[in-house]
């Protein structure tokens, strides 16, 4: 099987890698680009630990083939903070103790950011249903939901101040 050369953009940076046609985007990120922040919990689309944003759409990167990233924009957990400046969602996760083991956390943060990017004022129910594709076995979701709600409020406040 000959390898395919894929040119894509990850967190704003151009990336090129070689992969087998059946390599998942998750494996390409983790193995070819050393971006191990995206996790594999199941490899079947059931846990959300591998969540990334592909051309503005939230996807399970374990279900996307790496060659599909050709010419597209991929955003991963590694791109959520700006340099050393944490995103409000990341900070609220820390302040709420919304992670225990932290293995699910990158997926939750990427998914939460995708939510707040298109719905700045979600209800608790909207947060819970949006995040229903992300499994967390440690926290019981309480502190995660509170962190996302508070991050949303903070971002709304920021926007008002900026306006």
């Amino acid at each position: 099987m000959s390898k395919l050369l894929v040119s894509t953009t990850v967190n704003g940076d151009p990336q090129q890698f070689l992969c087998d046609p059946d390599t998942s985007l998750l494996d390409a990120l983790r193995e070819e680009m050393d971006l191990t922040g995206s996790k594999e919990g199941c490899g079947s689309g059931d846990c959300g630990a591998c969540t990334v944003v592909l051309d503005g759409k939230m996807v399970c990167s374990c279900l996307v083939l790496a060659p599909e990233a050709e010419g597209r924009q991929v955003s991963t957990i590694e791109g959520v903070a700006e340099g050393n400046q944490l995103h409000p969602i990341q900070r609220q996760f820390l302040e709420h103790g919304a992670l225990q083991c932290g293995f699910c956390t990158p997926g939750f943060i990427v998914a939460s950011k995708a939510l707040l990017d298109h719905n700045p004022d979600p209800s608790e129910t909207e947060v819970r249903y949006w995040l229903a594709g992300n499994l967390c076995r440690c926290t019981g979701y309480d502190k995660i939901v509170r962190a996302v709600m508070d991050a949303a409020a903070e971002l709304r406040q920021d926007r008002r101040t900026a306006a």
Binding site: D20, G37, K39, V80, L86, F93, F103, T125, G140, D142
Partner: protein
């Protein structure tokens, strides 16, 4: 959120600072089990049995070995002859003969998914391709899955050298009942016969999985000189070392295990499945080898918690006083003997109540499923479901408020525990009173809903831990420990060290060191870490304080006994030297300052929780929705309040999942039918309400900051709390878990 009142005016204990490993974990930088890379690393893959029970007549690996890129193939024949040998390190001693077979079948397979061969190759694709070239010649044997089936006269017996332990006379025939354990006191039968009210019922549960999201993974490197390194995530890298070295018959000192961040364990990551296999592959290949489990393999081959069949009769006097308990519990043991859930099931059954007459008999029953492994309060939730359901029935029959019934019977400090030892400063009554006073309990039950309550205890644990505390030249503080951080324990250690030393939380940095860099520490499990490792950290910190006082005394030319340590400063009369000032001078006052402490405390105290649950039952579909949930728990004292609440919430939700959805489903051929997160349905965010928490603080006087374990208790009461809520909502007693829509639908239709 209920911040504890800071009764003793601690500076840091009970606060909620950001955890030291937090930024790495929210930015994706933290390195977990599947993330570690060693230079030149090969990718491994494991071939697993499609049969639940079979003899291996032979394995032909020649074609696989010949495939380009394959560097090593191992089978059970590569494992050293494993005799019976016990190793400590985990929550109980493990017999290496069985642990080895959880890593690789040796001659016989005992469950679907048991490893039979493994390959290391230059890529994952090559390794997977090589697996397909391995030919295993199986002689398929009859299998058995369910507890009652395994006990039947004509059941296939798994091991011809396993005889029931714990019988008065040594049996003459091997049996799937590998162990009997009983507690008998008074005359339970007579007491129940004379009781004003009694309840008799049979309760059943299916095996469930711990469900950690991080797969098991490791990298092993075993060099030609016999020295080895392993990088893996586990709840205890010293246990990984002990088992790996024991199975492979090499020196402990030759194996260095590096702890990576762990993505959840809940008891399930206190043993080896992959490490010895990766080691053998590495030795053959001469290169480091990575093995990672697929989710289906995690379900099929790693430790679930036991299913159970429980027969119970409880009897009470008219005023609610319990007079007798007769209980027989049968727990799944899995493929190999050694599961110890039966001990805690029997010991903890009515351990939180005064019951003068009790006959509690437990059986560990082997069948063709993976060997049971610890899952949060191992063995307790199953029996608690039966006991607390029976208590609910007694309360209804006697017309007594369910919390009052429990208050009437609960054990108090000074009264004997299940093992007969008098209990210390337990907070059972305080927790029940707090639950009773909670607005949730007094609020009206919404129409169409049912409210359930249940309580439960867990003994907690202490055990060996090592910690060292070193001073930086600038007065900052380095804590080194050997207990993996599974839910924020670095933060708790930093809080305790900083509190003791009188410095800022941010001045203390905590490292979890590898097995060659710090002394032995038992696994993070049994709710022991903040208690026991915390004690080690505090003791080492006190050792550092002694040295700091000594340096100050020498500087001043006074007797060290005249120097005190106050808020991070040595004090003698009006002379003062801050920690930073002393640290800056260590070069001329006797050298660097550090201290190590090794502890093995056994003055831990049990934890206790009371859970209140409101459920709504959809009578058309049988679907149960949890509408409101409150967890009240005696936590001793919370060191980091967020992570104590987090344990309470997370444990409760795992218990709710166990009650409502989770179960291993085997098909008739003995294969697991739902080996994935889609069909093994764990709770998701949209299933749950907020989980309200109340931390009741009855400190443990044997710990400097009053710590009791908090992690395990919260999974004990939810099964019955949910069951009782659904029973009250429907008027039908829930005897069988999970309380899934199809089951509820069937019960509702049958009752019409």
């Amino acid at each position: 959120m209920n911040a504890p009142e800071n009764k003793q005016q601690f500076r840091l204990v009970g606060t909620r600072p950001v955890r030291p490993d937090g930024v790495e974990k929210v930015t994706g930088k933290a390195i977990y089990g599947p993330d570690h890379v060693s230079p030149g690393m090969l990718q491994g893959a494991v071939l697993r049995s499609p049969h639940p029970h079979a003899r291996i007549r032979g394995i032909d690996t020649k074609k696989a070995e010949a495939l380009a890129g394959v560097k090593a193939v191992v089978t059970g024949q590569d494992f050293p002859q494993a005799a019976d040998k016990l190793v400590a390190g985990a929550e109980s001693a493990s017999n290496l003969r069985w642990v080895a077979q959880k890593c690789m079948a040796i001659g016989k397979v005992f469950y679907e998914g048991q490893a039979v061969a493994a390959v290391a190759a230059t890529s994952h694709a090559v390794a997977e391709a090589a697996l397909k070239l391995i030919e295993v010649d199986y002689e398929v044997l009859p299998h058995v899955i369910a507890i009652e089936d395994a006990l039947a006269e004509d059941a296939p017996v798994l091991h011809d050298d396993v005889f029931t332990q714990g019988l008065a006379e040594k049996p003459t025939k091997p049996s799937n009942a590998s162990m009997r354990f009983a507690i008998e006191r008074g005359d339970a039968k007579a007491a129940i016969a004379g009781a004003a009210a009694s309840f008799t019922g049979r309760f059943t549960l299916q095996p469930v999985h711990q469900g950690y999201i991080e797969p098991h993974a490791c990298v092993a490197q075993w060099n030609a000189d016999g020295q080895a390194q392993i990088w893996c995530s586990s709840q205890g890298h010293f246990a990984i070392r002990a088992m790996t070295a024991g199975i492979l018959q090499i020196d402990i000192a030759s194996v260095r295990v590096h702890p990576l961040e762990i993505g959840g364990g809940f008891g399930g990551k206190t043993t080896v499945y992959l490490e010895p296999v990766a080691m053998l592959l590495s030795r053959k290949a001469g290169r480091p080898v990575r093995l990672t489990m697929k989710r289906t393999d995690i379900f099929r081959s790693t430790g679930p918690a036991p299913g159970a069949v429980i027969d119970i009769t409880l009897g009470a006097a008219a005023d609610g006083t319990l007079v007798g308990a007769e209980i027989e519990l049968k727990y799944h043991g899995g493929a190999f003997p050694g599961a110890n859930e039966v001990y805690s099931g029997v010991g903890g059954a009515v351990g939180h109540y005064r019951v003068p007459n009790a006959s509690i008999v437990g059986w560990n029953v082997l069948s063709n499923i993976p060997t049971m492994h610890a899952y949060r309060a191992p063995g307790a939730p199953q029996i608690n479901f039966a006991v607390e359901s029976a208590m609910d029935e007694l309360a209804a029959r006697l017309g007594i408020d369910p919390i009052d019934l429990r208050l009437k019977n609960i054990v108090h400090p000074g009264e004997p525990s299940a093992s007969g030892v008098p209990l210390g400063a337990i907070g059972y009554a305080e927790a029940l009173e707090a639950a009773k006073a909670h607005p949730h309990w007094s609020s009206p039950v919404a129409p169409g809903q049912g409210r359930g309550v249940a309580c439960g205890a867990w003994g907690n644990y202490g055990g060996p831990s090592t910690a060292s505390v070193k001073l930086g030249e600038d007065g900052s503080v380095l804590v080194t420990e050997g207990s993996p951080d599974i839910g924020g324990s670095r933060a708790s250690m930093a809080i305790m060290a900083a509190e003791t030393l009188g410095v800022a939380y941010e001045k203390v940095r905590v490292t979890i060191a590898d097995t060659s860099s710090i002394g032995f520490s038992m696994v993070t499990g049994g709710s022991r870490t903040t208690f026991a490792t915390g004690k080690a950290v505090i003791q080492a910190t006190e050792g550092v304080i002694e040295q700091l006082k000594d340096r100050a005394a020498r500087t001043w030319g006074v007797d060290v006994a005249a120097v005190t340590w106050e808020d991070g400063t040595a004090v003698h009369g009006d002379q003062r030297l801050t920690l930073a000032q002393i640290a800056a001078k260590t070069g001329t006052t006797g050298g660097p300052i550090s201290a190590e402490a090794v502890v093995d405390p056994h003055d831990f105290l049990p934890g206790f929780g009371v859970h209140i649950c409101d459920t709504e039952v959809d009578r058309e579909t049988g679907h149960v929705l949890v509408k409101r949930y409150t967890v009240v728990q005696d936590v001793g004292r919370a060191i980091h309040a967020d992570y104590v609440e987090g344990q309470m919430q997370g444990g409760a939700v795992q218990g709710i999942g166990w009650a409502l959805n989770e179960a291993y489903v085997y098909d008739r051929s003995g294969k697991l039918d739902n080996a994935g997160f889609l069909d093994y349905r764990m709770p998701v965010a949209s299933d749950m309400p907020m989980i309200d928490t109340v931390m009741v603080e009855v400190p443990n006087p044997a710990h400097p900051y009053g710590v009791k374990g908090v992690g395990e208790v919260p999974i004990v009461p939810p099964l019955a709390a949910v069951g009782n809520a659904v029973s009250r909502a429907t008027g039908i007693r829930m005897h069988d878990l999970p309380i899934s829509p199809d089951r509820v639908y069937g019960l509702l239709r049958a009752a019409e």
